[in-house]
């Protein structure tokens, strides 16, 4: 489905309108993040979540559950948190379709390489990586263009996303 599919746009607008109407009928109800915003955040690498929407999302478990479903549905790959017995930091995660690796940079110990390798050379590559630790908020990183089956990013080793990816309690979605 193309990104600007008019039927989908209409459906998203209808969902937003329905949510807005319900809020109007419930005086005093907290303002919620629009579903269309969540949807764009999940599927569009160019879309940034504004501060106000980020606050609404953080305060709204139902919206977080919506985002959770959006990310998992039709995900390119979903990598669950690792077994309880796993300890130490994670350097490699793999599924049947993709492998993620973390390799510290020798050039700069404060930086770390995140490698994404697709196992099917014919697959349409994912464009975003989402990670969430222990049920916390989803973090997002936009993936660069793949060269063949591989893409590589350089992250600050102490960044939120690098810390999360090294944590066995983190689940990861490629979309």
């Amino acid at each position: 489905m193309p990104a600007d599919d008019p039927v989908r746009e209409l459906a998203l607008a209808a969902l937003d309108a329905d949510a807005q109407a319900r809020r109007l009928l419930e005086p005093g109800a907290a303002s919620r993040i629009a579903f269309s915003v969540l949807y764009r955040y999940a599927v569009d690498p160019g879309f940034e979540l504004g501060r106000a929407d980020a606050r609404k999302l953080a305060a709204d478990p139902a919206a977080q559950a919506d985002l959770d479903r959006l990310l998992r549905d039709n995900a390119f790959a979903y990598m669950p948190r690792q077994a309880a017995a796993a300890s130490g930091s994670v350097e490699r995660r793999e599924t049947d379709v993709a492998i993620l690796t973390l390799t510290p940079s020798k050039a700069d110990p404060g930086q770390i390489y995140l490698g994404v390798e697709l196992l099917d050379s014919g697959a349409i590559p994912p464009r975003q990586l989402f990670a969430r630790t222990d049920g916390g908020p989803w973090l997002r990183v936009v993936l660069p263009a793949f060269s063949g089956t591989r893409a590589q990013l350089l992250l600050a080793a102490d960044s939120d996303i690098a810390t999360a990816l090294a944590d066995p309690k983190t689940e990861v979605c490629l979309r």
Binding site: D96, Y113, E117, L119, S147, Q152, L153, L155
Partner: protein
């Protein structure tokens, strides 16, 4: 780098190569902006320029992954290659002399310097840069590819030199020639040749041939060993197959495989332990307390519903065990592909596959577990799984797939299960 300073000529002005650092061979070579985490989009070209078999840098240095930091963005093209090669050569030679180099040109795999576009604009941008910042002209050189059209003899007192190959570029940068680089000045050969006629000619030729053969063989061995260490088995297999297309290549590939067989013994097979979790009917599979754990035998004849299966591969700590568990609801190999293929979870004592059946096994359903044991994890595409997971264990297709892995010292262990 201390000593030589190298700049890439661009239409926006010279871009300094600030630093080149070796990286772990598992990562791809990258060009980064000014020490930041920003990887420039031309990095895949740099990776190809560095890594063998096509890359020329690994051929020179023996290492296949680098990070190069530059002072400004370079967004496209390959004209950075001449400057990058010189910077790598200077690093290899301990930093080089105190020379400032401005260079543009593409370097091919024979180390010839190829022409690039926009040389005139790049030199104009350099002129503006030098007018503002200046460089001591007596210790600087500007290099452009031979045949770049009309170029000035000098800019701000710095000579502009046309180069045809890396040998000439290294000489201009006051760097030592490469062992396999073209001679930097053909006149030297003419002068030297008559003197050497006094040495027994056949002895020299023999020594040269032995040296060349050793260089030739060791280069392939190093590449194949690196692929093996990185677990890039399919690439290794393809590389060996390419080598085997000619007589000498066949010898080299055969020698490598012999060496591999001698240097590493076959990996020990793991012990496989499995269990089935069954319940009186499928609905009770959601209740752990209603499930019964049974040992996994090759054939299941009971009427109870099968909720899930767990299999562990237990081996010694020095061996890497990888594998796949395939679920065939209508029987082994009776569909285009298995309905589920699982990689298993990695644990310190081995690997475990846990499959909770969404589609409960009916009579005829089958599982095939294949464990590949070896010294390294296997990376990249693994086409042998297609036959290993679907072909009968005693059939030629399974044996052929198994033989592909055994050739490289891997041991294949398989387990079949079915519901009668």
């Amino acid at each position: 780098m201390s000593g030589m300073t190298v700049h890439i000529l661009t239409t926006e002005g010279p871009v300094a190569i600030q630093r080149i650092t070796e990286e772990d061979n598992a990562v791809q070579s990258v060009i980064c902006l000014d020490g930041l985490t920003q990887i420039l989009p031309i990095s895949p070209h740099y990776e190809a320029f560095v890594r063998r078999p096509a890359g020329v840098i690994e051929r020179m240095t023996g290492h296949g992954a680098y990070r190069m930091d530059v002072s400004a963005r370079i967004d496209e093209g390959r004209s950075w290659q001449l400057a990058a090669f010189l910077a790598h050569a200077a690093r290899q030679q301990g930093g080089g002399q105190d020379v400032t180099v401005f260079a543009t040109g593409e370097v091919d795999r024979d180390l010839a310097v190829r022409r690039v576009e926009h040389v005139e604009q790049k030199l104009q941008a350099l002129t503006r840069h030098l007018a503002e910042f200046g460089v001591a002209p007596e210790r600087a050189v500007i290099m452009v590819p031979e045949g770049s059209g009309t170029v000035p003899e000098q800019i701000a007192g710095i000579p502009v030199c046309a180069v045809a190959d890396i040998g000439a570029a290294l000489a201009l940068a006051e760097l030592a020639p490469l062992a396999s680089a073209p001679a930097k000045d053909p006149r030297e050969e003419k002068i030297d040749a008559p003197r050497r006629r006094n040495v027994p000619f056949t002895l020299l030729i023999g020594a040269a041939l032995i040296a060349a053969a050793l260089f030739w063989v060791s280069g392939d061995f190093a590449r194949w060993s690196a692929l093996m260490q990185q677990g890039r088995l399919l690439e290794l297999e393809q590389d060996l197959a390419r080598a085997e297309t000619d007589g000498f290549g066949q010898l080299r590939a055969g020698a490598y495989l012999k060496w591999l067989g001698l240097s590493a013994s076959d990996a020990p097979a793991p012990a496989l332990q499995g269990a089935l979790y069954t319940a009186a009917d499928a609905a009770q599979c959601t209740e752990p307390s209603a499930q019964v754990k049974r040992p996994l035998h090759p054939v299941y004849k009971d009427a109870d519903s099968i909720c899930r299966v767990e299999v562990r591969a237990i081996g010694d700590a020095a061996t890497v065990h990888i594998g796949r568990l395939a679920y065939w609801p209508t029987g082994l190999g009776n569909a285009d592909r298995p309905s589920r293929v699982m990689r298993g979870s990695q644990e310190t004592s081995g690997r475990t596959w846990v499959l909770a059946f969404d589609e409960k096994p009916q009579p005829g359903a089958a599982l095939r577990l294949v464990v590949i044991s070896g010294a390294v994890d296997i990376n990249g595409p693994q086409p042998w799984y297609q036959d290993l997971l679907s072909a009968p264990l005693s059939g030629p297709a399974f044996d052929a797939a198994k033989a592909r892995l055994q050739r490289f010292g891997f041991t294949v262990t398989a387990l079949d299960w079915r519901r009668e």
